[in-house]
Every structure is written in structure tokens, then in C-alpha cells.
Symmetry: C2
Subunit: 379 residues, 2 copies
């Protein structure tokens, strides 16, 4: 493979150039950069002391714990988002979609901190920012105006959250986020934890708006537990509707609930991306930021045992994510950006199950990680 100007210039027999530096991959595997399509960079404790999670049993308790934690002077969002992004780079991720909290307590501080981090790391990672009303949108007056300002400031995606279960007003919530998306010409990513009929209703309302506004290909739904907890007729119909209107799913297996069948989605033509969700934060103690591990977890959770199925789980964490995030020039073909991961393994399936850490990562043709070690300085 010949790289030139940060792109793949040639592959195979014609890929030679007299004055090029040669990197011998030694028979290892090459995949395009891993794509982290759902995480929360702004609130990770990565690299900090262990934070106990004594919160109560309800999700809202965790939101409360989190808001309390964020007020601690030690949780420097700029530093922490950078730490987790760098860990993800080490693991071979070249593109990240991060939800970033916007609420009436912190205002736009987290958005600004992650935008500053993005600027600091712009040569080594692409970061897409979702302005995310984590504490609710309409139930916390002032939040919608903050989301609007976040989009004006440079957030890339409008982030919604459980229109029924959290915001208690599905019409109001969806009209608000679709309105913002229309105003800024940006996509939507909707956190949807609602199960069964309630979640299916929220998806129906979302589909109606996508169709009415011609926003096909611009909306993703994260989690979508309802697609694993509705009856099978309804699920089949929803899969077909999502495929028709090119509404993508983003999954973070194993989920806290029954989750959409990946094979069912793929067969219906629904686009799927994968993500780590929170990594070592108030909500989620787990995670390593490794999208190969996520591919394994997606495979395990979907009973993927055959090689082709395990490779499909990996595909979700590479090409799937790139399509959902509309990453241009992605892949291993001539003309694609040279965002590449080289790693040991006999086959792609073996790489997913063994998750070797001695990876070499290229971003725009430049080696940013060599055999698991960063090649750039970090603060």
C-alpha cells in the first residue's frame, strides 16, 4: 500500500515509489481506523483514582451523583476528555462521536472544554460532538436555549434523550430537537432507553418527523432497547421503517436490557454503528475505550460464533460507524484517508477475540501509535 498526502495512493502491484519510506507490517492484519460512535468523553475518570459508585437504584440517582461529581474541582473536563480520547487512539480509534452534557448547572462549560480538547488533538483524532441534554430538555427550562448556543458554538449533532420517559413530552421534545437540527442543518442522535411500547412510540414519532422533513440519513437512535423488547411483528415493522428512512442504530452491547437483534437489523437493511458508551464514569464503571473489545461484546451478546458473524461485529465498529457518522473517504481503497490500524492476528475474527494491544495506528498517513506506544507527546 502506497500512502501519499495522508491518503491511500495505491494498493497492490502498483503501490511502489522509489523515494518512499517503507514500513514493513510483517504480515500483520490491517483494518481501517476503529470508529467509536457513542461515548461520553466529558465525564470519564480515566487515569484518576477509583471513584466509588454508591448511588441509589434509579437512573435519576446516577444523574444526581454525576452532577455532584462534576462540581468537584478535580474533574477537569478538558483534561479528562483528552485522556480518554488518547486511550482510544492507543486502541486504534481514529474517529469518535462523543455526547457532551449540556445542562442548566454547567451550561456550555463541558462543550467548550471538549471543543478545546478537540482542537488540541486535531492532528491525531477526529471528534464529533453531540450537544446532549443529559438532565432533560423541556423539564429543565433554559436547556433548549443552551443546546441552541452549543450548536452555534460548533457542536456537530443535536442530542435528544428519552422523549417520553425523561422529558415527559414526546411531541415537545422531538419537535424541539428536530427544530434545532433543521435550524443548523445538522444530524440528530437520540438516546432512547425506553422499552417496549413506549420506546416504539418514540421511534414512530421520530420516523414521522424524518419523513416529513426529508431528513433521511441524518438521524441515529442510540440503544433502542424497545427493539429488543417489543413483540416480533412490531419489531419487524420498525426495522423496515428504519431501513427505509435510513435511520441508523448505535449499540453499546452488552446492554442493560434486551437489545435489538443485530442480525435482524442487518437483514432488514438497518445501518448499525457501535460504541463504548461511558468509560469509567459516574454511570458506568466499566470500559477500556477499545472498539475491538466492543466488537467482541457485540459478538458475544448476539451469539455470533461463526467467523463471518464475528467479522460482522467488527464491521459495525469500523465501516458501520463511519457510515453513521458520514465520515468521508473511509476504508482501505485507493483515495481513502490513510487512517489505519495494523495489528497481530491470523484472521479478523481472531483479532476480535484476542484483542492484542500491540497495535500500530496511522492517522492521515502519520504513525500516531507504534506497537501500542503513542508517538506524540501528551500533557
Amino acid at each position: 500500500m502506497l500512502l501519499r498526502g495522508g491518503k491511500i495512493a495505491a494498493v497492490g502491484a502498483g503501490a511502489s515509489c522509489a523515494d518512499a519510506a517503507v514500513f514493513d507490517a510483517g504480515g500483520r492484519l490491517m483494518i481501517p481506523g476503529l470508529v467509536e460512535a457513542h461515548t461520553h468523553l466529558d465525564k470519564s475518570f480515566w487515569g484518576m483514582r477509583w471513584q466509588r459508585r454508591p448511588a441509589g437504584p434509579c437512573p435519576i440517582d446516577e444523574t444526581e451523583t454525576e452532577r455532584r461529581n462534576r462540581r468537584e474541582p478535580d474533574l477537569n473536563t478538558n483534561r479528562q476528555s483528552g485522556r480518554l480520547a488518547v486511550q482510544m487512539i492507543k486502541m486504534g480509534t481514529t474517529h469518535i462521536r462523543s455526547h457532551v452534557d449540556v445542562d442548566t448547572e454547567t451550561g456550555l462549560a463541558s462543550i467548550e472544554a471538549v471543543m478545546a480538547m478537540r482542537e488540541q488533538l486535531k492532528d491525531v483524532i477526529d471528534v464529533e460532538i453531540v450537544a446532549f441534554a443529559r438532565s432533560g430538555l423541556l423539564i429543565r427550562p433554559g436547556t433548549l436555549e443552551l443546546l441552541d448556543r452549543a450548536m452555534a458554538l460548533g457542536a456537530d449533532v443535536v442530542g435528544g434523550l428519552d422523549p417520553c420517559a425523561v422529558d415527559r413530552d414526546p411531541k415537545g421534545h422531538l419537535d424541539a430537537i428536530f427544530g434545532l437540527a433543521q435550524k443548523y442543518g445538522r444530524p440528530i442522535d437520540l438516546h432512547l432507553h425506553e422499552r417496549g411500547e413506549m420506546g416504539a412510540f418514540s421511534i414512530d414519532l421520530t420516523i414521522e418527523r424524518v419523513r416529513a422533513l426529508g431528513m433521511q440519513g441524518m438521524v441515529a437512535i442510540s440503544h433502542a432497547f424497545c427493539l429488543g423488547t417489543s413483540d416480533s411483528n412490531q419489531t419487524c415493522r420498525l426495522f423496515d421503517d428504519l431501513a427505509r428512512d435510513r435511520i441508523a442504530l448505535v449499540i453499546t452491547a452488552p446492554e442493560a436490557s434486551a437489545a435489538p437483534s443485530v442480525l435482524g437489523c442487518i437483514k432488514a437493511g438497518v445501518l448499525i454503528a457501535g460504541g463504548s458508551d461511558g468509560v469509567r464514569d459516574s454511570w458506568n464503571p466499566y470500559g477500556t475505550g477499545d472498539m475491538l473489545e466492543r466488537a467482541m461484546l457485540i459478538g458475544l451478546s448476539n451469539n455470533f460464533r461463526r467467523d463471518a458473524e464475528v467479522e460482522l461485529a467488527l464491521d459495525i465498529c469500523t465501516y458501520g460507524g463511519a457510515r453513521v457518522m458520514s465520515v468521508a473517504n473511509y476504508g482501505l481503497a485507493v483515495g481513502c484517508d490513510a487512517d489505519l490500524v495494523i495489528l497481530p492476528g491470523e484472521t479478523l475474527a481472531e483479532a476480535v477475540v484476542s484483542r492484542p494491544t500491540d497495535r500500530t495506528v496511522l492517522k492521515g498517513g502519520r504513525i500516531v501509535v507504534r506497537n501500542g506506544e503513542l508517538t506524540f507527546p501528551i500533557d
Copy 2:
């Protein structure tokens, strides 16, 4: 902690002895040896070249692939079971329950090979062998007689399999395995993949026999998907029945299906152990033999986010397994066997989520792994 004669002789202030060798754990964590309560040592490809898994979509296709693989001269059961057991030792496991296939094609060859491995490694690991009619019991005439011979040869546990779904004769199957268990005075471990009402029926029939024969505390059910796929009234009743008759569950999360709620089981008083299931075999391409990783997967699959919950997942992979396997003298108290794991981590929950590999493992007071490296020679 003072160790003497392979046991914990004293803990705390009184644990000093003038002539004892001193091991400074350097502030690391100590847990009792990890317990692998459900695996299949006899068919792992661990350390071999990657084996593609092109099998068809039905479970029986995998059984066929597996029997074909086992006929390959390269799959040396003695060597492979030893390789996987040694990998498990490296990860801190001190006790293993392994199902070992018995069928009319291989006869007792796998049992004999694993028994020989057990003898070879007897100083570094305890291995309990389940004689397992993987290809069916009554549907393959001659298998019951082979199981009987396996028990006579020294297998520890009678292994059943899906009395309805595979053997097509739940009464016949359960009468046969309970009969063998009675004949040899040994416990039962029943693989139960059956879902919903069918699985609940098999559990009901099992409970009836436990009660009629007074076999409380001697029966474990592995997987038990039906407890995750029945209606909630039935599930609650079954949990209570299992607790009353001390029938344990062995789980291998994430399962291929909705699975029993760990918190539901614990609250009802049902004993739970954990296992890796197959590791890199014809059935399962995944796995590392690491019970800390399994604790993480149990935690992830049960939405365990609080520290106490993550510690509960670890407890399932230590004390839970020891109780299900009736391991005597297990734990960190004075008088317990000195089967110990020392590992970095700020808290137990942190050890589960970060899964450090530089573990030091003691078996019977002897260091068998030092900072991730085996201290004993292997063939």
C-alpha cells in the same frame, strides 16, 4: 497473613513467625483463588492455529463440526485441556469444573485424557470432571453405559443436557442421570438451554427428583435460559423452589439468550457460580479463561454499576463457585487452604473492570504464578 502447611495459619497482628519467608504484596489486593465453575477443557484450540467456524445456523451443526474437529489428529485432548488449564492458572483460577464429552464416537477417550491432565497438574490446580453426554444421552444408544463407565473411572459429576430439546424424553433423561448420581453418590450438573415453558418444565421435573431423592445441595443447573424467558410469576416461583432445595445456577454471561437475573436469584437465596463456558473451541470462538473478565461480563450483563454490585459479580466467581463445587476450606480465613490471588487494584471493583494481568497466584501456599509468569515448567 501467615501460611503454614499449605493453609492460612494466622491473619492480622498474630501472623508473625521468626523463621518464615516473607512475601511483600506491596499493598496489592488479595482474593481467594478464582473458581471456574463451567468450562469445557477437552475441546479448546488454545495455543493452536485459528480454526475457522463455518458451521450452519443450528446448534446441532456445531455439534457436528465439533465431532469432525475432534477426529483431526491435531486435536490432542490431553495437551489442549492442559494448555487451557494452565492459562486459567495464569489468570488466578485455583479450581475448575470441566464438562468433558462422552459419546459413542470418542467413547471415554476425552475423559481419560482430561483425567491424565488432572494428574499431571494436581499440584497446581484442582479439576472436577463432569461426564457430559454432549451429543445426547438416550438418543444415542450406548451413551448411558459410557457415562456409567466414566463415573466408575473417576468422573466427579454426572452431566445432563436439555432433557426435552435434545434428548426428546425429559422423564427418561432425568431418571437416567439421577439414577447414575444415586448409584455413585455424586452430584449432577445439568446443561439447560431450553427457553420459556419448556425449560421451566425441565426444572420442575428436576426439582421433583431432588426432593424425592433428598439430593438438596447436590444439583446445579447451567445456563437456565428459561429463568430469563418465562413470565415473572413463574420465574419468582422457580427461584423460590431452587433456593428451598438448594439447586444452584451456573451462569456464563453474556448468554446467547435472555438469562436469569442475578439480583433476582440472590434475593431469592439461589446460589450462583460463574464460568467461561467453552474457550476458543468449535462452539465458542471467544474467551481468555479469565474469571475476572467473566465477573466483568456478569456485571455488564446484569447492569451492575455500583461498587457493591460489581463486587457481587466477583463473589460469584470466587465464593459462589466454591460453594457450588463444595470446595472445602475455601476463603481468606484462618484454616482455609492458601489458594490465593494477589493483584493490583485500588478496590475489588476496580480490579474487575481493569483486569490487570500481572497477578501472583498461590496454590496450597506455593507461588505458582508470579506477576503473571508461571513458576512451574510446562511441557
